[in-house]
């Protein structure tokens, strides 16, 4: 059996997932021994035209990171899908939309207006906006167009596996790469992680399972770093987040924010966390309950920070 052909691509992403691929350290040499990278625009010299010329299904696996924001993102996703036997949504952007997905709380019009006209340092009285086709003195220039709604990869192409995390921790990356290289892949559609349960299961901070009378924002208190952060009133998302990352953030003194996506079987991560919080509020007085709930500000941004495009509502309803 010859070497595997692997492609990597980034759509609307931050580059963290490409760095994360390298964070497996020397294990990358094991991968290089078993696979040839045939396309990786961020680091290698292959072009879109190269991929276009490849035969259908000639790439064994494509690790695709980044959300689908523009016509170029979608075009490349579809092209790579047709050329690849296995398509892997690598990282939270491809899996669930991630941070770029927060733009779904706004209309595209308002985004463009803010970026190109309203920002205080921008000097654009003529209200010039980027255009798909522009005539310049020497000729014509083109830009890809932007979609009004950010989407995850499986919302535009069929995806075989998902690797969660923003970015995936090295051991999660290795789990996926090892499965690829050895051929021991799980059932199609699986999310590849060491855990299918909530993060609490693997978080080493001792838990008492307390109910909470007051929720705090992280800068308002100095928590005991050796105790469960949720018990102390910090909004730790670990109760509604898939484990497998090793609970790095709670051990760094900050609550989990949910980047590994929903626990196995959960349809909408945001409301799952919301429901859990509802159970934790320590009161039997409806007015007091309402007051405590009102203290949790920006629920949409906190509960759907990474998963808005794949949530049940997908986006805000805007004019």
């Amino acid at each position: 059996m010859g070497k595997l052909k692997v492609a990597l691509y980034w759509a609307s992403s931050c580059g963290g997932c490409d760095i994360a691929t390298l964070a497996i350290g020397e294990k990358i040499l094991d991968v290089a021994a078993a696979a040839d990278i045939v396309f990786w625009p961020v680091a290698m010299d292959f072009k879109y035209k190269d991929v276009e010329q490849m035969a259908e299904q000639s790439i064994d696996a494509c690790l695709f990171n980044g959300a689908i924001r523009s016509t170029e993102d979608e075009h490349v996703a579809k092209m790579l899908r047709s050329k690849s036997k296995i398509m892997i949504a690598y990282g939270s952007c491809a899996y669930e939309g991630c941070i770029p997905g927060l733009a779904n709380l706004f209309s595209m019009k308002s985004v463009l207006e803010r970026v190109y006209v309203d920002t205080p340092s921008t000097d654009n009285e003529a209200r010039v906006y980027p255009q798909a086709k522009v005539k310049v003195p020497e000729g014509e220039l083109e830009l890809p167009r932007l979609y009004s709604t950010v989407r995850a990869l499986h919302q535009v192409v069929d995806v075989d596996y998902f690797v969660p995390g923003c970015p995936p921790e090295p051991k999660t990356t290795w789990l996926a790469l090892e499965a690829l290289v050895t051929g021991a892949l799980p059932e199609k559609g699986s999310v590849i992680s060491h855990s299918n349960k909530a993060l609490c299961e693997e978080c080493p901070l001792p838990k008492e399972g307390k109910k909470v009378k007051k929720f705090y924002r992280p800068h308002q208190i100095i928590p005991d770093p050796k105790k469960c952060l949720l018990d102390q009133g910090l909004l730790c998302y670990g109760v509604a987040t898939r484990g497998g990352c090793g609970a790095m953030c709670p051990q760094g003194g900050m609550p989990c924010t949910g980047c590994y996506g929903p626990v196995e079987g959960v349809v909408d991560q945001g409301t799952h966390f919301l429901a859990a919080l509802g159970s934790l509020i320590d009161s039997v007085d409806p007015e007091e309950i309402q007051r405590i709930a009102d203290e949790i500000v920006d629920p949409a941004g906190r509960f759907y920070r990474y998963s808005l495009p794949v949530s049940l509502l997908r986006r805000a309803r805007t004019a």
Binding site: D268, I281, Q290, L312, R315
Partner: protein, 144 residues
């Protein structure tokens, strides 16, 4: 003229509000025919995502009815509901979803009239708002 007829999904808890709805029926009380009732054992069973799923599946409004606070058959179930609905409604505001589309209220087994009254109120409030916007727009945006 075609009047918009909203579809309202109602979650009724088995012990109080479902019995109340039953009573409205056996008492021959007239009320808006726009509702579809789903019986749950307790209003605390209503996971917030049921409400979103209902809206995305075709409902224009959702009504959750439980026992009055202090009367829950399972003692504290409806307090969970209060908490979850409070959080949910705050969140829906950020999504631009009108507050009147989702409502939590209390109906006891003996309150057939009250059940009918709440149903009528909710139906009219949602009728005034129009259909729930469930399609997402993804078409390419022209700039400028």
């Amino acid at each position: 003229m075609n009047r918009f007829e909203p579809k309202i999904v109602v979650f009724n808890c088995n012990w109080c509000s479902y019995a109340g709805a039953d009573l409205a029926g056996t008492s021959r009380i007239q009320y808006a025919p726009n509702i579809r009732i789903i019986r749950v054992m307790c209003s605390g069973r209503v996971e917030p995502y049921f409400i979103l799923e209902a809206l995305q599946a075709g409902a224009d409004g959702v009504l959750v009815l439980g026992c009055h606070p202090g009367e829950c058959h399972y003692l504290e179930g409806n307090y969970r509901t209060v908490a979850r609905m409070a959080l949910l409604k705050n969140m829906l505001a950020q999504f631009g979803i009108e507050a009147d589309r989702v409502r939590l209220d209390w109906v006891s087994a003996s309150e057939g009239v009250r059940f009918a009254g709440i149903v009528n109120q909710v139906t009219e409030a949602v009728r005034a708002l129009g259909p729930f916007q469930r399609e997402e727009t993804t078409e390419e945006v022209a700039h400028g």
